[in-house]
């Protein structure tokens, strides 16, 4: 398998999020946007929220995986469509940094069979989901308990900075 094929496999994947975060995600993605007469800051595209949640989860070092019990998890946009590319690649880089923790070394991949590569890709995405959903869980908690913080235009920066300090 060549690089391009691996790239494609990953790019086609649509990471999932847990249904219970849907309303919060909608709220902080576009709907509540101040420019549309809402009361708080927002991200714009949903996948940005996802990327943001991923970073939170990653900084927390926590993962919240989608399991069989999670009914109707919701799909995000395919990874290949995420923008900006650089940040998307950065996220991939972060997962690859920890690939050995979920059972794959890079050199292993060099020798892996197609089946194994597919497993790797599935797990790759699973890892993304894990961090992202952990991040969403964190955001949901903040949304429920400290809603007022979302009126600060710097709320998303504040959250990241708080995590940097802990």
């Amino acid at each position: 398998m060549k690089s391009v094929e691996l790239r494609d496999l990953i790019n086609q994947k649509r990471p999932l999020y847990k249904k219970e975060y849907r309303d919060m995600i909608e709220a902080i993605s576009i709907k509540g946007d101040r420019t549309r007469g809402g009361t708080h800051s927002t991200f714009g595209a949903f996948y940005r929220t996802y990327m943001y949640a991923f970073i939170i989860g990653y900084k927390l070092g926590k993962q919240n995986f989608i399991t069989a019990e999670d009914k109707s998890p919701v799909e995000f946009a395919p990874i290949g469509q995420w923008q900006p590319v650089r940040i998307r690649e950065f996220i991939c880089m972060l997962i690859l940094n920890k690939s050995s923790s979920f059972g794959f070394t890079w050199s292993d991949l060099e020798d892996a069979s197609e089946e194994t590569i597919n497993v790797f890709v599935t797990e790759f995405v699973n890892q993304i989901q894990g961090y992202a959903n952990a991040g969403l869980e964190y955001l949901q908690d903040k949304w429920d308990k400290d809603r007022f913080e979302f009126q600060d235009p710097f709320v998303f920066v504040n959250i990241l900075e708080d995590l940097n300090h802990t």
């Binding site: 398998m1 690089s3 714009g44 650089r86 690859l96 940094n97 890079w106 590569i117 920066v157 990241l160």
Partner: protein, 713 residues
């Protein structure tokens, strides 16, 4: 001697429900106070007097007087209208004049027919002299008698409705001035004499001209001179008409200017502050827009291509990746190299030979030294240790590009992410700075708004009214200049023509000494002297009156404003070129004071009224009842107190309708000031009577019934 009101009573008139004996107020000389809260009958009482005296009532909604014909239904008691099908509404005033008692009764009979009221007004007047009652039947006679109560020319001073105070005293128009002076001195006789003498001048001039023509019928030169003289006289007459017109226009412009002057100071200030406010508003909006844009761009910055705030503090992960990748490359290269090394060319040394080469430290293949751990020696070692089986090193996949692309893509972040922290910090600071700037500007704007409001800004939010005031004022100023110039020109011309006439007359005198002509000339000369004497006397008296008025008004003003914390300045009466008078308020440095509160403005008006009344030559006391409804709104306690001290010196009898002494919470419905004044009355320090109106039946405003309590008779 003037009139004194003995009593005023009402029957089913507005709040005054019931018979006259239930709604009677008995009065004396001095100050008669009727203290009542809003809607308790003050203005209704006043309207009763207006009905008797001038068949009008004051409509508070329209803020003007209305004929009673249009108002009978409104005037009738709501309770009477609701409860009765037939009743009489009326007002009765009993007054004395020259020891004769007059009972004036104006009534309207109401009768309900289906749902409409039929009205039958009546006017009865009874004269009682030496205990004999005489019914006055002639309507003109009745009106004449009512006029004795308050003469027509004094009504504007005797009947004072608080809100109309400003319109009352008008010295700045000829008619207002004439009316005032006439009121003061009855100068009509003098004016009449002057006008007659002016008329005589014209007549004698004509007679002289006719005599001269007759005497010189044969003399062409003389006739020409006479014609020329006639022509000049005609020109002077026309010029004088012109002069009058210009003077009137000048007077109007002066009036406008004076009226606007007070507004103007404030209008200019308002314009100035409005301009400042607009400018600040613009600046604030710009800053807010800028801040808004910055805030909106935060999420964009979070996902920036070059300095994404999202990845703040995560630069180290790139280094980790880089290390891992280097490791991978090393491994890959190693494997690649080894997989390529398996295939050695023919004739290459075998393993044993390679071992010997290592021991010897010498390469037999290229014949060079290969000392231990040197590059050559390590190479030989690698060859010796190479995998011997190709199958041990399979590489199914080639993901080098995959990994390297990620590195390439993220490599700029290595340096950039270090700077993100600082970028965020500066961005926050920029927004804080904008907040501070906005705050400062808003405080400035608030300050300007306050000044705007202090200059009357609340009621003048309309841009155009201030601009119009300024432009009207400017136009009035230009008109004044223009008309003054025109007047001067006309006067110059008149002067020139008069000199020419004089010269002609001298020539004519020289020309002949016809006795008849001389006589007429002498008569003409005397008439002119007479005219001049009356004119100068009129001027002199006018000036004396104005000076006395100014002195008197200032005395009253001082007395009325005594004890006030703010100095109200003093009144200045300035004679204008057209003979009218402008009254302004000056401070101690003789600077004009404008913008004084309504209280002071009303005090100024009241002082002038009192001065006019007490300036009446030969009669220091106002001999007619002074009746005033609510003159004290905008006055403080100090003013009110002072008024009760000053008023008895000016008015033989006054009836004052006032709410400022009222307190519904006390037993006697009087506040402290009311108690003080009542006390003074009881002691005899203030002569008069004291009534308080109370609401007999609490009801909606249409059915209010007022009763009165007499505290001092």
């Amino acid at each position: 001697m003037g009139a004194i009101i003995e009593s005023i009573s009402f029957k089913n008139f507005y709040n005054y429900y019931g018979n006259y004996k239930n709604n009677i107020y008995r009065f004396k000389r001095g100050i008669n106070i009727i203290n009542a809260d809003n809607n308790m009958g003050k203005s209704k009482f006043y309207n009763g007097v207006l009905w008797i005296v001038q068949d009008q009532v004051y409509d508070a909604d329209l803020k003007r007087l209305r004929s009673v014909d249009e108002s009978y239904i409104l005037m009738a008691s709501g309770k009477a209208k609701n409860e009765e099908h037939k009743f009489t509404m009326g007002v009765k005033i009993v007054f004395y004049e020259q020891e004769i008692k007059y009972t004036v009764l104006k009534e309207v009979k109401f009768q309900k027919d289906n749902n409409t009221w039929n009205l039958l007004p009546s006017f009865n007047l009874l004269q009682t002299e030496d205990n004999k009652d005489i019914s006055i039947l002639d309507i003109k006679e009745k009106e004449k008698i009512v006029d004795k109560l308050i003469p027509e020319e004094l009504k504007r001073y005797a009947l004072l409705q608080g809100e109309s105070l400003e319109e009352l005293v008008d010295l700045s128009s000829k008619s207002g001035l004439a009316s005032t002076i006439e009121t003061l001195v009855g100068i009509n006789t003098l004016i009449n004499a002057y006008e007659t003498s002016s008329n005589f001048v014209k007549r004698s001039s004509k007679d002289l001209a006719d005599a001269e023509k007759a005497a010189n019928a044969e003399n062409q030169k003389v006739l020409e001179l006479l014609q020329k003289k006639e022509g000049l006289e005609k020109r002077i007459e026309n010029a004088q008409d012109c002069l009058e017109k210009y003077q009137h226009e000048l007077e109007e412009a002066e009036n406008t200017k004076q009226t606007l002057e007070a507004h103007l100071m404030n209008a200019k200030k308002r314009e100035q502050y409005k301009s400042v406010m607009d400018k600040l508003e613009y600046q604030i909006n710009e800053k807010k827009k800028k801040k808004d844009n910055l805030e909106k761009s935060i999420t964009t910055e979070m996902f920036s291509d070059d300095y994404p705030w999202l990845l703040t503090g995560m630069g180290e992960y790139i280094l980790d990746y880089s290390s891992s990748r280097i490791e991978l490359v090393k491994q890959t290269v190693k494997r690649d190299w080894i997989s390529e090394a398996i295939m050695l060319p023919k004739g290459s040394p075998d393993s044993q030979s390679l071992r010997e080469m290592l021991e010897e430290g010498y390469c037999r293949v290229c014949g060079r030294s290969a000392k231990r751990d040197s590059e050559a020696w390590l190479h030989i070692k690698k060859v010796l240790e190479r995998p011997t089986s190709k199958e041990e090193n399979p590489r199914k996949n080639d993901f080098s590009d995959f990994f390297s692309n990620i590195q390439i893509e993220t490599s700029p972040f290595v340096q950039n992410l270090e700077k993100v922290g600082e970028i965020i910090k500066n961005y926050r600071q920029d927004i804080l700075d904008l907040d501070m700037q906005i705050k400062i500007l808003e405080e400035e704007k608030e300050g300007a708004e306050l000044e705007f409001i202090n200059a009357g800004g609340i009621n003048n939010k309309d841009d155009s009214s201030d601009s119009k005031t300024i432009s009207d004022f400017t136009y009035a100023g230009r008109t004044i200049d223009q008309k003054t110039e025109d007047i001067n020109k006309v006067k110059e011309n008149i002067s020139l023509w008069e000199r020419e006439i004089k010269s002609i007359e001298n020539k004519l005198t020289d020309k002949h000494s016809d006795e008849n002509v001389n006589k007429h000339r002498h008569v003409n000369s005397m008439m002119k002297q007479l005219e001049l004497l009356f004119k100068n006397t009129k001027e002199r008296i006018f000036n004396e009156i104005i000076a006395a008025l100014e002195k008197n008004a200032n005395e009253k003003y001082k007395e009325l404003t005594y004890g006030n914390l703010t100095s109200g300045g003093k009144l200045e009466f300035k004679k204008q070129t057209d003979g009218t008078v402008l009254v302004s308020i000056r401070d101690v440095n003789n600077n004009k004071i404008t913008g004084l509160g309504t209280g002071f403005q009303r005090m100024k008006q009241l002082s002038i009224v009192m001065a006019i009344i007490s300036s009446k030559i030969g009669n220091k006391q106002f001999d007619f009842p002074f009746i005033s409804d609510a003159p004290f709104s905008e006055f403080g306690n100090n003013f009110i107190n002072n008024f009760f001290i000053v008023a008895p010196k000016v008015f033989t009898q006054s009836i004052i309708l006032i709410k400022e002494l009222y307190d519904p919470r006390t037993e006697n419905f009087l506040n402290n000031l009311g108690d003080q004044i009542l006390e003074k009355m009881k002691k005899g320090d203030i002569p008069g009577t004291f009534y308080v109106n109370v609401i007999k039946e609490k009801a909606d405003t249409a059915n209010l019934v007022t009763d009165n309590k007499c505290y001092k008779l």
